[in-house]
């Protein structure tokens, strides 16, 4: 089997920091490979070198048997290498047909656009992977999975030999992931190789033929064995054994901390009823669009419910009308999207840490009390250790995992009694994920009632003691984690999914 890409003993450094430290890597024809590693291990550097966006310092790069001292993005594309980035790089204001043929038509150097020809060729490409959709639809009308298919079609339209996919399953539902894997198998049977760059170990274990694990710019492990366990992979990625114990909830108070009664937001969710106890971690899961996201936001007053009521510590507070109302009852919320909702990215880490409680730091003269502010910043940042952080650097200088820790810290400063965590570890690598889980468990032990909204079933299994499954805006099932297994839970969600399909 001929190698499409072969990288030997490659070095690359940025401002004196080694990103690739003697990396070796190769991928053959029709191979499905997964490249895994923690953030900053050099994965993206490697991909950018192969696709021609970075040059390399030392080592050798062979593509289709030809040696390149340096390669431009265009040369890389001409060799049949296509990268599908997480954002897909599609043009929302254009139709599917135009997006699929865009790259080919730019490379053809033709100054005119022949729409009929373009549509025909786009349709042929879609047919090749049995993607059934109206090619005249605009891309902004599509959902994430469909956009991804369009991006794959665009790669195929250019006779891709190797398609590199960056975190391809992050925003997909279980069913869509399955569909993606079908398409990938189809590509493989046509001799196209696929390189997955992914965090989601459970999924890539299912589809990949082989794995390459990177750590500190090196290829630390490579295998073609499908029986590799997840624990082994994590060990190679992080260099340490990480084992997560399940959360063990001991009820200390018979009286519920929060009761949600007939909570309804028209068109989003209906008749939500549950109780949350002190020190409990309650999971809410379900497919994308099942209403979990809206429920989380309504509990914090961002999207106020339309009817129902909430009882906190036996006090009926009605509907949570807005964020101020939620704060009054010490409810904290960690949003899914840290970048736009959770942190002020340009502000310093220290300033971010007190942003929730800033109102309480006003001195007698009505201005901020500088002493109090400084003291509080120190206190808050000591609540959760963030390795290697400098308080005066902007929040965006932190990695995804550390940003999430900062969001947690800023809420802890406000002494919350209830914390709503919306997908707390999305885009966070395994090591940091484990730390965040331990922090959350620690908070629960201190008596905070926690609600975790997540579609990450392994996360729900280690973190929660109870879980609700939502579908079409209703809670359809409740399970005690101790009495269920991951397979059962996944099957249950998939079942709801197939039911939805039948009725649709």
């Amino acid at each position: 089997m001929a190698d499409i890409v072969n990288v030997k003993n490659m070095y690359k450094s940025f401002f004196g920091v080694l990103a690739l430290d003697g990396m070796n890597f190769s991928i053959g024809e029709g191979e499905i490979r997964c490249l895994i590693g923690e953030n900053g291990c050099g994965k993206s550097t490697l991909i950018k070198i192969i696709s021609g966006f970075y040059t390399f310092d030392k080592g050798s790069l062979y593509i289709n048997g030809k040696e390149y001292k340096k390669i431009t993005p265009i040369e890389s594309m001409n060799e049949g290498i296509q990268v599908i980035y997480q954002d897909f790089s599609l043009f929302p204001n254009m139709t599917i047909a135009e997006n699929v043929m865009m790259y080919s038509s730019i490379r053809s150097k033709s100054q005119f656009v022949n729409w009929k020809n373009m549509k025909n060729r786009a349709q042929e490409t879609l047919d090749r992977i049995k993607f059934d959709i109206d090619i005249d639809k605009y891309v902004y009308e599509l959902n994430v999975a469909e956009k991804q298919m369009v991006a794959i079609c665009r790669a195929i339209a250019q006779d891709a030999k190797l398609i590199i996919m960056d975190e391809p399953t992050t925003a997909l539902t279980a069913k869509e992931v399955e569909n993606l894997f079908k398409v990938v198998s189809e590509l493989k049977s046509r001799g196209v190789s696929v390189l997955f760059v992914s965090h989601k170990l459970d999924e890539v274990l299912k589809i990949s033929d082989s794995f390459t694990v990177m750590r500190n710019g090196k290829n630390v492990y490579e295998c073609k064995d499908k029986k590799l366990s997840k624990e082994d992979l994590i060990f190679y990625m992080t260099g340490k054994k990480i084992s997560e114990e399940r959360f063990n909830f001991i009820k200390t108070d018979e009286k519920p901390l929060m009761q949600v009664k007939n909570y309804t937001l028209q068109d989003k969710f209906y008749d939500i009823n549950f109780s949350l106890y002190k020190g409990e971690i309650l999971g809410i899961t379900g497919l994308l669009g099942c209403g979990r996201n809206e429920l989380a936001k309504s509990l914090f007053g961002i999207m106020p419910a339309t009817s129902g009521n909430i009882v906190i510590n036996s006090e009926n507070i009605g509907i949570i009308r807005n964020v101020q109302h939620a704060l009054k009852y010490n409810i904290g919320y960690v949003p899914e999207d840290r970048i736009t909702e959770g942190l002020h990215m340009e502000q310093t880490i220290a300033d971010n840490s007190i942003s929730v409680i800033i109102g309480s730091l006003v001195g007698k003269n009505g201005l901020l009390d500088d002493k109090k502010v400084r003291k509080k910043k120190q206190e808050t940042l000591s609540l959760i250790p963030i390795a290697g952080m400098r308080p005066l650097n902007p929040a965006k200088s932190l990695s995804g995992g550390n940003q999430q820790k900062l969001v947690l810290a800023k809420w802890l400063a406000a002494n919350p009694q209830i914390l709503v965590l919306n997908s707390p570890t999305v885009g966070v690598d395994v090591g940091a994920k484990n730390e965040i889980h331990n922090i959350i468990k620690g908070l629960a032990k201190e008596g905070i009632g926690i609600i975790v909204i997540s579609d990450d079933i392994p996360e729900i299994m280690t973190l929660c003691n109870r879980v609700f499954i939502m579908k079409d805006g209703y809670i359809v099932d409740e399970r005690n984690i101790a009495e269920t297994t991951m397979e059962e839970l996944e099957a249950q969600i998939a079942l709801e999914d197939s039911k939805a399909e039948e009725t649709a």
């Binding site: 594309m77 204001n93 038509s105």
Partner: protein, 325 residues
């Protein structure tokens, strides 16, 4: 139907029809060929500048300086000719001079926006003020009413005429045909050339366009170059129809033209501006302002009604906004 409602051109066309009908009920004269002629004539200037503005908006930018550019191009050209008593200069040379000045001024915008990576909104507000101030300070502040012969002749070139019920003769101005031709050419460029599609691509997502291998800087260069040429032409049109060269004429009214482009579907999150949509947007705004005058509505009410119709148009186009109502 749902698909059609999402189509900006279609919604604007419907709004035009409804507005026209309502106006017609109030004043039957409005539904007449004479009124069509008069509205098209009133649209010539904004339609020309809207084309330049639309091009910049589709490419992901904004231009607040097009009126200033057009005015400088026209006034400098006319003043030069009038000061030297070169009133017989052929029309095409007048246009050529104005186009060259227009191009230079818009390329200054391009330099700041593309090369220095400064925000287009602020850059063009700055250049608008700069060009206008420069004109008044160094070129002149006087109204010129002795225009070059070519422009005087162009001002009264008609292709067809009709007499209204009250006996007034209405003419279809020749420039209406010229503007229509410009729109058709622009439509072809935007939809059937690689360059045109590249403009839409960089307007939607610069990073993605770069990955696709599009030369961002060159595309923007051509966009500003064409916009400058159109603004120069628009300036001469304005001087022609006005039969006078007025320094810093029009400047300050850019927002109505931008509103026309946005109504036609440009400038939204999707960067989907279209030539037809812009044409309809311009017609709608001229229809309103022109006929409210006919209906003797006070001018402050005209502004309010224009604002209301712009907002209604935007709400109808935004499915998101409809779902929140």
């Amino acid at each position: 139907m749902k698909r059609l409602l999402k189509n900006n051109e279609f919604t604007v066309a419907i709004i035009i029809a409804i507005t026209w009908l309502i106006f017609g009920i109030v004043n039957p004269d409005i539904i007449s060929l004479a009124n069509v002629y008069s509205i098209t004539r009133a649209s010539i200037i904004s339609a020309t500048f809207a084309l330049a503005c639309m091009l910049v908006i589709i490419s992901g930018g904004i231009d607040m300086s097009f009126f200033a550019v057009g005015c400088v191009a026209m006034y400098v050209t006319v003043k030069y000719l009038v000061d030297r008593a070169m009133l017989d200069t052929p029309l095409f040379l007048i246009f050529a001079a104005a186009i060259i000045i227009g191009i230079i001024l818009e390329l200054i915008n391009w330099f700041f926006i593309d090369k220095l990576n400064l925000p287009p909104f602020i850059v063009t507000i700055g250049s608008q003020s700069l060009y206008k101030g420069f004109l008044l300070a160094f070129v002149g502040t006087t109204y010129i009413t002795t225009m070059p012969k070519g422009m005087r002749k162009l001002a009264v070139t008609y292709v067809s005429s009709t007499t209204s019920s009250s006996g007034i003769v209405y003419n279809l101005h020749f420039l209406v045909i010229v503007v229509a031709a410009m729109y058709i050419i622009m439509h072809i460029v935007l939809n059937f050339t690689r360059f045109g599609r590249n403009i839409y691509a960089i307007g939607a997502d610069v990073a993605a366009a770069q990955r696709a291998g599009i030369n961002i800087s060159r595309t923007r260069f051509l966009v500003f170059l064409i916009a400058g040429a159109i603004a120069g032409v628009g300036g001469v049109f304005q001087g022609t129809l006005n039969r006078a060269a007025v320094p810093a004429d029009l400047v300050g009214q850019e927002l109505l033209v931008i509103a026309a482009v946005v109504l036609g579907g440009g400038g939204g999150k999707q960067a989907r501006g279209s030539v037809l949509g812009t044409a309809l947007g311009v017609i709608l705004l001229s229809l309103i302002s022109n006929n409210l005058i006919l209906m003797k509505v006070p001018s402050y009410w005209q502004q309010a009604v224009t604002g209301i119709i712009i907002l209604i148009g935007l709400i109808i186009q935004s499915t998101e906004a409809i779902s929140k109502l």
